[in-house]
């Protein structure tokens, strides 16, 4: 069931201010046709504002919104042919599910028979046929969510916007709906922009992710790119759970080797990484290591850094070990279930092929 043609969305140099607060600061990106594109960031990052500007619910202070290459800044939301699923679904409480689904079609003046046909067709797709006579108040959260999706899809819009659509569902349903939504988006092939603060949602569902922080675009890339090659410390810290560990370090050259000195331990850099670090000319850097790239040993090892166990978080199939070096707590992933008494000394080694090095001055990635 592919209804949609090719539709690209472009945001150019978007600026939106609320009073003195700059909610969106010169953000630009391009969403490809049929793409499942995510706007990811913490609360207050401006991601919802960007989405609302695309929808036309907010007027940009600067910059352009282009749909299919056409500037739509001055086009009323009702004329943009965009559909949106709201966080709280925004179903019309006085209408039945059928009327909710039919509303956008009525507004477009479709004949009754066509409306009926499309509503039934979509109800079947979303498995809500038996709910058509009910009012939104009589539905469960998951059902309301489906109706909200349906109302957005029914008129086959050019672009589909979703503002945290899963955040009001319970954890189990959310995981189920993630796969469901991803599947539906691919089946329909509709250009979709999805706002979330949940990096797991973004990583599991997105074709590409745009990360925002304090109104500024940090990085645009595939889930793999933002995970493996974060552009800066913000992206590195935001993507991945548990978050990446950061160590302040100085670059030291000794006997032809390049070392990172954190004050507590020294690491010798592999030659390719060493070259990049030297080329950057930075002397003070931030070392970033993901918990899954830290190996934990119970016995002393050559070149391993001793650390004290702070607490362990067993997850059944693996264990998160929180350890202390220099009074700061870091996390490591241990691939088995293990229990270690807090205070025990362990030995850690970094997977040097997977370390990240950032400039201390602005957090930008060097490696």
């Amino acid at each position: 069931m592919r209804w949609w043609g090719m539709v690209e969305v472009e945001v150019r140099n978007l600026v939106k201010r609320f009073g003195k607060v700059v909610a969106v600061n010169h953000v630009s990106f391009k969403v490809r046709s049929g793409e499942f594109f995510f706007l990811l960031g913490p609360s207050g990052s401006g991601k919802t504002t960007v989405l609302r500007c695309i929808a036309g619910l907010e007027d940009p202070d600067e910059g352009d919104i282009l749909i299919d290459g056409v500037r739509v800044n001055d086009v009323h939301p009702s004329q943009r042919d965009i559909a949106m699923v709201f966080q709280n679904y925004a179903l019309y409480p006085h209408m039945t599910v059928y009327d909710n689904l039919a509303f956008p079609l009525k507004m477009r003046g479709l004949p009754k028979s066509e409306i009926e046909k499309r509503v039934r067709e979509l109800a079947e797709l979303l498995r809500i046929e038996e709910l058509l006579d009910r009012k939104p108040g009589q539905l469960s959260g998951g059902q309301q969510q489906r109706v909200a999706l349906g109302r957005a899809l029914v008129r086959r819009p050019k672009v589909f916007l979703m503002d945290e659509p899963l955040s009001n569902l319970d954890a189990k349903l959310r995981v189920y709906m993630r796969a469901e939504l991803k599947r539906m988006q691919k089946d329909l092939g509709i250009t979709t922009i999805y706002v979330t603060h949940d990096q797991v949602e973004a990583m599991t569902m997105a074709d590409r992710i745009a990360l925002l922080n304090k109104g500024v675009l940090q990085q645009v890339g595939t889930p793999s790119e933002v995970y493996h090659r974060p552009a800066n410390t913000f992206v590195a810290g935001f993507i991945g759970s548990p978050a990446m560990n950061f160590f302040d370090a100085s670059v030291v050259e000794e006997q032809g080797k390049v070392l990172l000195d954190t004050g507590n331990f020294r690491l010798e850099l592999p030659s390719d990484i060493a070259e990049l670090v030297l080329k950057s000319g930075e002397s003070e850097v931030i070392l970033g290591v993901r918990p899954e790239h830290i190996k934990v040993y119970m016995e002393k090892q050559p070149d391993a850094v001793p650390a004290r166990v702070f607490v362990v978080e067993p997850l059944g199939f693996e264990t998160i070990i929180d350890f202390k070096v220099d009074d700061k707590v870091y996390k490591a992933r241990y691939p088995k279930e293990v229990y270690i008494e807090p205070g025990t000394t362990i030995y850690i080694k970094f997977d040097m092929e997977n370390i990240h090095i950032f400039r201390k001055s602005d957090g930008k990635a060097i490696v």
Binding site: S78, M84, F86, A90, Y92, H94, F103, P104, M107, R151
Partner: protein
Amino acid sequence: MRWKIALAYIILTGLTLFWILPYYVAVATSFKTLKEVTEAKYLEPPTTLCIDAYIKALREEGRGLLNSLIVSLPATFLSVLIGSLGGYFLARFRFRGAQLIFFLVAVATFIPYQILLVPLVQVMGALGLMNTYAGLIVTYTVLFAPWAALISSAFFMAIPKELEEAAMLDGAGPLRTFFMIVLPVAAPGIVSTTIIVFTSVWNDFLFALTLSMSPEIRPVQPTLAALKGSFVAEWNTQMAGAVLASLPPLVIFLLLGRYFIKGLLAGALKT
């Protein structure tokens, strides 16, 4: 807990009796003969169901009742229509000076409306609307539209903004959004506003008296006042007139009352 509920019911029953008493006296008196009325046993029920008083009251007051309907219905409709559009605007559109406008509307409704009597009469005179239905309708609309705006704005504020945004994205323009989404969702509030405005217009005496010079135009309240008789105080006729005059608001309340209660409670409880 039990005794608290019982106590509440006892107090409520007492209050209900207290409030219903005048109406009971009016109804009881209206069915009495003039002779029975003069015996001054107000609380006793009538010995016979005499409808002479109603026949007489209807003969003298019928035109007034009709006039009141002719004036109240359009005045209520216009007040609620204009008022709810204004109330929606006050509730939704935050612009520079919105607070001030809200404040001014509130002040306008809180001013004792007797103050407006002289200027309004002069304006109506200048417009040639004295002693016309139109004059009364316009006057009541002017008086009660701000009320309606103020009351309805509270209900509009309780409607999530996303509903309107969703309607907009679904292709509805501002007016369609208002009439197809906002107004139905705010229905309990609109009904409450309608009841309050209709009752106020219906019960008004001052403007009804001042702006109508002839019985052909005069609404029911001044007509009712004229019912008391020149030589004998015909209490039964007066009471029959009063009961008749109270029926339309009562009917409206009974028809729409459940919305009224809903409206009063809107926003009080988390749904």
